[in-house]
């Protein structure tokens, strides 16, 4: 394993990093050029340089907003994780409960959150409504994946547990939850991104109505004021936040599974 990697593999790795960077630089250059040559005013399309300058000049405001949105996202994600796994475990223990509630979980999922958000904003205080949106969107993948995982137990292992007289609790803790872990982590990885989307949608829906100061609210507000460079700067921050969330959850996934699950194993035979 410690032997140097073959040349074509190293070249492959280098290309995988270099190519997207080249595309980015090219794209930015074309953008910059197009704005300058076409003399496009900043309120229609700001050039990348201006967006960068805006990001720096508005940093304290945008960073505050980023923290607000991230906090909502994190809380929504946490509630979705606890609620999704918890409800899946309850479903797994009681078929009756599953039959009674699962359809409503599906309804919650398939109803577009953009349409639900305004209603929530009427009945709930704004921060709570935003949080509820983040939760609703993020909750279902955790529930669905965990449910699938809890039923994907090796039959023979389940027999073995029965043979040794395992209690329900032991069955759940020592067999079902570990078996479901890869599924749960997969659900959480989706939920992280969705939670951010839910928070953003709710903030946009709240718009000028609330005193919200999240990043999406800044985008909406900047839109009304035709402050297009700030819109782009805020959008950039949102993207970065999404990317960081995704890779953070991927890292957790990798750390939890690397010793045993096929999905996280490094290639051993070279």
């Amino acid at each position: 394993m410690s032997a140097p990697r073959p040349l074509h593999e190293r070249r492959d790795r280098a290309l995988r990093i270099a190519l997207p960077v080249i595309v980015l630089v090219l794209g930015l250059a074309i953008w910059e050029l197009a704005v300058r040559i076409g003399n496009i005013p900043p309120y229609v399309l700001p050039d990348p340089g201006l967006i960068a300058r805006t990001l720096m000049s508005d940093w304290s405001l945008l960073f505050q907003s980023l923290l607000v949105t991230l906090l909502t996202t994190f809380e929504g994600f946490l509630l979705a994780a606890v609620g999704g796994v918890g409800l899946a475990v309850l479903f797994n223990q009681s078929r009756l409960l599953e039959y009674s509630l699962y359809p409503y979980a599906v309804i919650l999922q398939v109803t577009p959150i953009v349409a639900v958000a305004p209603l929530l904003l009427i009945y709930l205080p704004q921060p709570l409504a935003v949080l509820a949106c983040a939760w609703i969107v993020a909750f279902f993948p955790v529930l669905a994946n965990t449910t699938l995982g809890l039923y994907s137990v090796d039959r023979n292992l389940a027999d073995l547990f029965a043979l040794y007289g395992a209690s329900r609790w032991q069955m759940l803790w020592h067999l079902k939850l570990p078996s479901a872990l890869p599924y749960i982590l997969g659900g959480l990885r989706i939920a992280g991104g969705l939670s951010l989307i839910g928070a953003v949608v709710a903030e946009i829906a709240a718009g000028s109505a609330g005193a919200g100061s999240g990043l999406a609210y800044r985008i909406a507000e900047s839109g009304y004021r035709l402050n297009i460079p700030r819109m782009f700067a805020a959008l950039l921050l949102l993207s970065v936040a999404g990317i960081v969330i995704f890779y953070l959850l991927s890292l957790i996934n990798y750390l939890a599974l690397r010793r045993w699950h096929e999905s996280a194993l490094e290639e051993e035979r070279r």
Partner: protein
């Protein structure tokens, strides 16, 4: 060497560890896996259930283990089992290990499920690993082991409770011949050292002759006892036995019995 037809036994012999009387098993899809199955396991013996696939030998094993309920007939335990379910160890066709935890924890499982404290369980786990030659592999994860070593872990797990009765369902079927021969020898050594009772399901004539005191040949559709052979070659058996004329003769007899059982099965078809 004697070959005797199985008599319809109505009483349970005093040296029987467990006795099946008139056991039938029909599956919901209509398959008749067993019918009128009479079978005694005598304390301390190594008995093989030999038969073509579909003769219900695995079903019989699962019924003895209590993992499956007979549709008719009785399973009789003449003397009360010393310690409930833990009197039985079961080895499946696949190693059936928990991939998410170490070899040590896999072997620990039966004791853990019985509520034995970690401190008290340590010694038997080490002893069981020692017995199958894996004393240095406690911290390794199952996927880092070869197929043969995984099966050793599975056997160690079955032995850790020091069961009165060890049930094995074609445990070596998926292994290469070299590994299989090695595990055959090690299994015999363990059996003799622990003075336990083994019921071994296999479709290999050679394996059943090498290992067993007694071979019960089964016929299929419906699964039943066709005949029974006594292999009264002395233990310990080793490479010399495997190449002896005596072994060859036993194998020929057994093969003939198996061929007759298959013939009976074809004849029995409507």
């Amino acid at each position: 060497m004697t070959m005797m037809m199985m008599e319809k036994a109505t009483t349970v012999r005093s040296d029987s560890l467990v006795a099946l009387r008139g056991v039938g098993k029909a599956f919901p899809n209509g398959t008749l896996a067993l019918k009128g199955f009479d079978f005694d396991v005598r304390a301390g013996e190594f008995v093989s259930l030999l038969g073509p696939s579909g003769c219900g030998k695995s079903t019989a094993l699962r019924i003895i283990a209590g993992l499956s309920e007979p549709s008719e007939g009785d399973v009789v335990w003449p003397s009360p089992r010393t310690d409930g379910e833990s009197g039985i160890g079961f080895v499946f066709q696949e190693p059936t290990l928990m991939p998410w935890t170490s070899v040590f924890n896999n072997v620990l499982l039966p004791l853990e499920l019985k509520g034995v404290s970690a401190g008290q369980a340590h010694e038997p786990v080490v002893a069981a690993l020692d017995r199958v030659g894996l004393q240095d592999f406690g911290r390794v994860y199952p996927r880092e082991l070869s197929g043969g070593m995984r099966m050793r872990v599975s056997i160690a797990r079955a032995l850790v409770t020091e069961p009165q009765l060890l049930l094995m369902d074609e445990p070596f079927a998926a292994l290469d011949e070299i590994t299989r021969f090695k595990l055959n020898n090690d299994l015999l050594a363990v059996w003799q050292a622990l003075r336990t009772t083994v019921v071994f399901v296999t479709h290999s004539v050679f394996e059943s002759v090498y290992l067993s005191n007694r071979i019960v040949v089964m016929a299929a559709r419906p699964g039943r006892v066709f005949t029974e052979l006594k292999i009264d070659a002395p233990y310990p058996r080793d490479q010399n036995f495997r190449t002896s004329a005596e072994y060859g003769a036993f194998c020929r007899r057994t093969s003939e019995a198996l061929a007759q059982a298959m013939g009976a099965q074809v004849g029995a078809q409507p």
